[in-house]
Amino acid sequence: MSKTVELPRWIDVGVLPFLNLLLALIVSGLLVVAIGENPVEVVEILLYGAFGYEEAWGYTLYYTTNFIFTGLAFAVAFHCGLFNIGAEGQAYVGGLGVTLAALYLDFLPFPIMLVVSMLAAMIFGAAWSYIPAYLQARRGSHVVITTIMFNFIASSLMVYLLVNVLRPEGSMTPESEQIAEHLRLPFIHDIAGALGIEMASSPLNLSFVYAIVISVMVWLFIWHTRWGYAIRTVGANAVAATYAGLEPGRFIIIAMMISGALSSFMALNEVMGVQHRLLIDFTAGYGFVGIAVALMGRNHPFGIFLAALLFGMLYQGGAELSFEIPTISNDMVVVIQGLVILFTGAMEHMFRPRVTKIYTAWRLRQDAGEAA
């Protein structure tokens, strides 16, 4: 016997995130006013910067690609009841896998390399998340703590490798050699050009298509396969899973490894698609923002796509903003992004009780009206 009516889906996935986003924008607007700028103008520049011209679209979708991968990664673990904070480190190590494959298997033809590089990313990312997963499943070490620690370990490991192992002789910058040209993921504007369509050049590349395909696959996996069912069961009620003969530890490990593999796809975009070499800190916080993306998208691939698009817009529009209005520094843009994450991710349930109350009252009146 519940005291309130359950919210319908359109409110849960539509109205609530919208209210949270609105609040974030209002608070951001107040900040903008406080430093003496016009918030309306700021919003205009932000939107124009993100969607106003062809090149902006390309950049926005390029950022979106990263957020889709890290958002999906968080969501899969979350369906198993796990808070994977380690997408950052998993993507970083995944990048190592991609780079090694591209540098040392460069004799392979491109179509085979497409598969091999993807496998390399998956194996490295999954292996990196296997250790926290094993510790959680078999030793009860909390995955939040261990994945955070593994971010630091990954960071140090990669610095060591880039400085001491992967840095080409004679180079002063801690980054790997360039990967061979024929192995790079083609840019969308190049593909379009080959098809006779003129497009402005941007970092948007083939991995955006991967992201869409993989979103669909994750959706199928979570809701239409036995393993997805098992993962959701473990996440919702581990005791019931044990009763059903679904050993929770096993599915914790499976979910975490899939999560790590999904994070590592971000490296395909960054290493194979844009930078064409392994850079220090190429993950640049995308792993952490992925948490907010997944929460805002209600851990559903379609929601994650929309949330990723929002954050892609904030990244690209924000860059434009600090360029256009000098008083709004890059730090200010980070603050705005932070506010969006705060209100949509960390405080996503803030409006829920009130909205539930209002909706319940409305439903009761409807029911009473029908009864009369």
């Binding site: 009516v5 199928l220 069961t233 009763y243």
Partner: protein, 527 residues
């Protein structure tokens, strides 16, 4: 009409509690409909009704957990506004919850003064409380050591601590919500003696229960609730269990199940010297040895928490055995030795666990998702690498119509079904697999009377189809009406077996309290 009303108010006996027109809705659920209730001072007043009849809601309104949408509460003739438990305590209402609200690591004394310590420094308050506690214990013969740690006390004694807490706060009216659910019959009798003492001292007691036997034994007056309405008030002396159950359900009910003789055949389940430890390494099942044959129902009786749950979970493949052996049709299925819950299902062991919400289903899932739990790898549910939700939906709808699950909607969230319908869905899932052995725990906990009848019939039908059934229940009535043989567990050990035909509540009750079966039967003979 008006005159009668007036006479009631100015009459000689002022009711301790009077509720007028209490109305409460939760969303679409009308939990209390215009409830009127008078509880006379210095009486024990029973409130009976099925689960979901609105008893608990009504008492929660009286104790200030919920606020009524309409209606008034009068205590000792005075109109009261009760907006929280503090208000209820202030007007002298105390409540003993079904689930105790005690800090196990604190002593009895510390628990009693919790919230009414009387100042920042404990010592003065504690000394005063100790004196007061002694007086209360003497007056009501509660027999509790104030310095004992609550975690070390038996459930019956913990309940007395709850009563003491209420009395210490000056309760004149005591509400007990399903107080005997966790007690042996003997402990329950002791509780009723305490309630009698309270009554003699002028206190008023409201007893909420669904057990008619307790109403008949302990109360002066009884009110019956059905589907949110107060349907009848009776003097206990002038009514009968038959009348009350008819009032509760709204139609005639078979209190006793009619079933034929059992025809036990070959041994299906053989348990030999089985020991099970919990996660802390405490031995919960001690050297259990018994068997279950095809075509019989073996019941395991016992007070909740005496190892039955662990035994059932071990047989269901969820816990490992520390010692001993389990065989199914002569094959080794000792839990933890390579045979897990999934493998047991494949071998024909179906398991309806005791705790529906914790174990038998994921309440956040839809009914069709709940209906494949444990059987999700059935080839009939697969379409290539994907699950065939269309086939699953059809199978679920089939289960639902076979077991009369309402509403028959495989897409509805499991949490939105009533307890009885959830349980029927779980039973359908397990029984329709046509298993060799059915393990059932608390099949009718939180299930309304209509569904109980149905569930009992289905379990007996399993037996009559030549299957082995092991039933664990803390409801003696259920064990006695369903089982063909009854094993009694106490403190992890099976202390004896009684044929259902020879069983009665007193013998079983004594055995459940740990008395040797022969002594128990002898004691019964003398009584």
């Amino acid at each position: 009409m008006h005159q009668m009303h007036g006479a009631g108010e100015t009459g000689a006996v002022q009711p301790a509690i009077e509720l007028r027109g209490i109305d409460k809705r939760f969303g679409a659920v009308h939990a209390n409909k215009e409830i009127d209730l008078k509880v006379d001072k210095g009486t024990i007043h029973g409130i009976v009704g099925e689960n979901g009849a609105g008893k608990s809601t009504l008492m929660s309104i009286l104790y200030g957990f919920y606020q009524a949408d309409a209606g008034t509460i009068h205590v000792d003739g005075k109109l009261c506004e009760i907006n929280g438990s503090e208000d209820a305590i202030a007007v002298g209402i105390g409540m003993v919850h079904q689930h105790f609200m005690l800090v196990e690591t604190f002593s009895v004394l510390e628990n009693v003064i919790l919230g009414v310590e009387g100042g920042a420094v404990l010592r003065d308050g504690v000394e005063k409380a100790r004196e007061e506690l002694k007086r209360l214990e003497r007056e009501y013969s509660l027999n509790i050591d104030p310095d004992a740690k609550v975690g070390d006390l038996s459930v019956g004694l913990q309940q007395r601590v709850e009563i003491l807490k209420a009395l210490y706060r000056g309760a004149e009216i005591l509400i007990l919500d399903e107080p005997t659910g966790v007690l042996t019959p003997q402990e329950a009798d002791h509780l009723f003696r305490i309630l009698d003492t309270l009554k003699e001292q002028g206190k008023t007691v409201v007893l909420i229960t669904h057990k008619l036997r307790e109403i008949m034994a302990a109360t002066d007056n009884v009110s019956v609730m059905r589907q949110g309405e107060m349907v009848a008030h009776r003097k206990t002396a002038e009514t009968s269990p038959e009348e009350l159950s008819e009032l509760m359900v709204g139609r005639k009910v078979l209190l006793r199940l009619e079933k034929g003789e059992a025809n036990p055949a070959d041994t299906v389940l053989n348990v030999d010297n089985l020991c099970v430890d919990n996660a802390q390494g405490v031995r919960k099942v001690k050297n259990a040895t018994f068997n279950v044959r095809a075509g019989e129902i073996v019941g395991i009786a016992g007070v909740s928490g005496n190892g039955q749950s662990e035994l059932l979970e071990a047989l269901g493949g969820i816990r490992s055995a520390s010692e001993g052996m389990v065989e199914l049709n002569g094959q080794d299925i000792t839990p933890g030795k390579g045979v897990d819950a999934a493998e047991l299902r494949r071998r024909g062991v179906a398991h309806v666990p005791e705790d529906r919400h914790r174990m038998a289903m994921v309440t956040a899932f839809s009914a069709k998702e709940a209906a494949i739990l444990g059987y999700e790898d059935d080839p009939a549910y697969q379409k290539g690498v994907l699950l065939d939700w269309h086939a699953i939906s059809e199978a679920t709808a089939n289960m639902m119509s076979e077991f009369d699950v309402r509403p028959n909607n495989p897409d509805l969230k499991a949490a939105n079904f009533s307890g009885g319908n959830q349980q029927k869905l779980v039973l359908a899932r397990e029984i329709m697999r046509d298993p060799e052995l059915l393990l059932v725990g608390q099949p009718t906990r939180g299930v309304d009377i209509g569904a109980i009848e149905f569930i009992h019939k289905r379990i007996v039908a399993m037996r009559d189809a030549g299957k082995a059934v092991l039933l664990v229940s803390v409801e003696l009535d259920e064990i006695m009406s369903l089982a063909d043989r009854i094993l009694v567990m106490c403190d992890g050990a099976i202390i004896g077996e009684v044929a259902a035909s020879e069983a009665n509540e007193r013998v079983l009750g004594l055995m459940m309290a740990g008395v040797d079966p022969n002594e128990a039967k002898a004691a019964e003979g003398q009584a």
